[in-house]
């Protein structure tokens, strides 16, 4: 009896708490509500925080200008914790709230893709700022992404290496959805150009020892090393490469662009070549104001991912403005027709919903990222 009684109590308690939480979230009708889903806790919390900052800034800027369609914008921020099951439940929450018009997010590809079927079924627009997985945007007509997919970026990196005279490349890549597609596209295009990929070596998330893989790569005798890694693994690879006494140019598709990379890597990351779509030290006119306002508000430099989220929000609101009404079909059409000068460069979409982007070459020089010439 007491066990069942307790079970009942627990169930009732939990769901009543839930019910309370549910009620408070419905806001006033006259605002345009847009959801932001980002990993505010968990392993990717750093990026989620950046998303939250930049999108809040964008929202504030629009409201200072008087909102859009004469109505104020309101942000509904949700935490996906970088976990795809959690991302799916957040998506359910967002689509079941009829006052929310569209959604920006998530950060990682698994989260964005777990949420996709739910937004797709609800015909809600989903702009994922940094989901560069090739299968994402073409998976639903309601999905868009800002960062540019790996075909384009892969072509850029492959071309760059080839132009520098690299003919044989060894690749180390993080074995997740992102790393695998980077490896595939960079590798394929590099081969198309006439180069040779002498080694493609995956490593698992959380790996700390790369000396074996690097020794293997050195044995393959390449002209350059391409690392599809985030900053922490990237720095570890560079350090262990230096320990092996191996002098070789290192290329990376933009993901090591972070101050921590320089801090951990120290002298070992000197000369690493990477790219960004947006570079605070050398911004275009649109980016300059963004960087300045961001610095004023948050006392730190914005990162590239945050800048993508900023653009995602602006692309969405611009489209609402052009559509002239809150009709998801019409706004979707308008997003597809976007030609917007964002802080991460000019943004247009191809027929799948992948942004077509341009990239800036940068190099680590004297312990700083500087433009490559």
């Amino acid at each position: 009896m007491k066990k069942v009684f307790m079970f009942l109590m627990v169930v009732v308690l939990l769901f009543s708490i839930a019910a309370c939480g549910e009620k408070t979230s419905s806001g006033s009708k006259d605002k345009i509500r847009i959801a932001l889903t980002a990993p505010l806790t968990g392993n990717q919390a750093k990026y989620g925080e950046s998303f939250k900052n930049t999108v809040s800034l964008a929202c504030k800027q629009w409201n200072d200008k008087g909102g859009v369609l004469g109505r104020e914008l309101e942000l509904v921020i949700n935490d996906s914790a970088g976990d795809s099951a959690q991302a799916a439940s957040v998506a359910q929450k967002v689509v079941s709230d009829s006052s929310i018009f569209a959604q920006v997010g998530d950060f990682s590809a698994p989260c964005s893709m777990a949420a996709q079927p739910i937004y797709d079924a609800a015909k809600m627009i989903q702009i994922a700022p940094t989901c560069s997985a090739v299968t994402f945007a073409r998976g639903s007509k309601w999905s868009f992404q800002i960062v540019g997919n790996q075909v384009l970026q892969g072509r850029f990196m492959a071309q760059w290496m080839f132009d520098e005279g690299v003919r044989k490349v060894a690749m180390l890549y993080l074995n997740n959805d992102w790393g695998v597609s980077v490896k595939d596209y960079v590798g394929d295009i590099f081969k198309e150009l006439g180069g040779e990929v002498v080694l493609q070596e995956p490593y698992s998330d959380g790996e700390t020892d790369f000396s074996a893989a690097l020794t293997k790569a050195r044995d393959a005798n390449p002209d350059a090393l391409f690392i599809a890694s985030y900053y922490n693994d990237g720095a570890a690879i560079c350090i262990q490469r230096a320990n092996l006494g191996w002098e070789i140019p290192v290329y990376n598709p933009g993901t090591v662009y972070s101050p921590e990379f320089l801090e951990i890597g120290g002298s070992a990351v000197e000369g690493v070549l990477t790219n960004v779509g947006f570079f605070p030290d050398d911004p275009g006119p649109a980016a300059a104001t963004f960087v300045e306002e961001y610095k004023n508000l948050y006392k730190s430099d914005p990162d590239y991912y945050g800048a993508c989220a900023y653009d995602a929000f602006n692309v969405l609101v611009e489209a609402i403005k052009r559509a002239g009404e809150l009709d998801n079909e019409k706004v979707r059409e308008e997003i597809a027709a976007t030609d917007y000068e964002g802080v991460t460069g000019n943004i247009t979409f191809d027929e799948n919903g992948d942004a077509l982007k341009t990239y800036i070459k940068i190099i680590v020089k004297d312990g700083k990222f500087t433009a490559y010439r």
């Binding site: 959380g206 790996e207 000396s211 074996a212 020794t215 050195r218 350090i239 120290g266």
Partner: protein, 292 residues
């Protein structure tokens, strides 16, 4: 040829870390016939304390060693009191689950306090010792090998030449009889357990210095893999555990050369499983001490 020797050097370096952790497993298994699942977390705590010392106090390797040793010792001591002494008489599974809970708690608490991201660590001994035919060996790699030897010798001395060592050996033979002979079993177990924690923490410090980084989850994989290494070499014998650690490091590195880094973790698990089935006492272990 260069490749072969370089992979050997890589393997020996990584194997040194495994060997230190394998000693930690072997010490605990010897006296209690149990395993401390949070050995990997203590490894991480050792790395963390050295990172804190270098970042906030002074960039000194030897002070880091001292502090790491202390932290590992104390944490393991407390852990033994909670997960084993306090619930002695409960099932073995309860103790195991408790150490898992502890491990989770320690990792997540550190992640919450210092963040989940990888942090940079000060560099020590990063000069090159010598380069021969393109094989590069850094001072750090030599330091690691020397440390393992020192700890092994010290432990052998401790276990075979001191009174407490005698007590440890007696308890590991037969706990009940040792108690009847007037040995303080609880204290003996506690000391062995704390020493194992200190070993794991030293391994963590070495790992942090060698990889020049620290992160809250760095102990997870080394913790599991070094258990495989200990099983491989012989869980009941300390030299066996060390041999297992080194062999595992070397096998893994050549495994990467032959297969790929993606399958690296699989290699050590498969070695462990095969050995558990075919020769559960490991290479150097004695059969009667491993209860299956």
């Amino acid at each position: 040829m260069t490749m072969f020797f370089q992979q050997l050097v890589n393997g020996i370096t990584q194997g040194g870390l495994y060997a230190l952790l394998a000693i930690a497993y072997s010490l605990v298994y010897g006296v209690m016939g149990l395993v401390n699942f949070s050995t990997g977390s203590i490894y991480m705590l050792g790395a963390m304390s050295s990172w804190l010392v270098c970042k906030y106090i002074i960039e000194s390797f030897w002070l880091s060693v001292l502090i790491s040793f202390g932290v590992g010792f104390v944490v393991a001591f407390v852990l033994e009191k909670i997960a084993f002494s306090a619930i002695r008489g409960a099932t073995r599974i309860a103790s195991l689950i408790c150490t898992i809970g502890f491990s989770q708690f320690i990792n997540e608490a550190v992640a919450l306090i210092f963040g989940k991201a990888t942090q940079g660590m000060s560099t020590f001994f990063d000069q090159e010792l010598f380069a021969f035919l393109g094989v590069h060996i850094s001072v750090m790699q030599a330091v690691l090998v020397v440390t393992v030897i020192i700890i092994l010798v010290a432990l052998q001395f401790f276990v075979y030449r001191t009174r407490i060592g005698l007590a440890i050996r007696t308890v590991s033979m037969d706990e009940k009889t040792a108690g009847l002979m007037g040995i303080n079993v609880n204290r003996t177990i506690s000391i062995a357990f704390s020493l194992s924690g200190a070993c794991a923490a030293i391994a963590g410090l070495m790992g942090a210095v060698y990889y020049r980084s620290f992160s809250a989850y760095m102990g997870w994989m080394p913790g599991i893999k070094s258990f495989s290494a200990a099983v491989f070499g012989g869980l009941s014998s300390m030299p066996g555990a060390i041999l297992g650690g080194y062999l595992m490091g070397i096998i893994e590195n050549f495994g990467v050369q032959v297969f790929s880094t993606g399958y690296r973790d699989v290699i050590s698990f498969i070695v462990m499983i095969v050995f558990l089935l075919v020769r559960p006492q490991g290479i150097l272990g004695s059969k009667k001490k491993v209860k299956l």
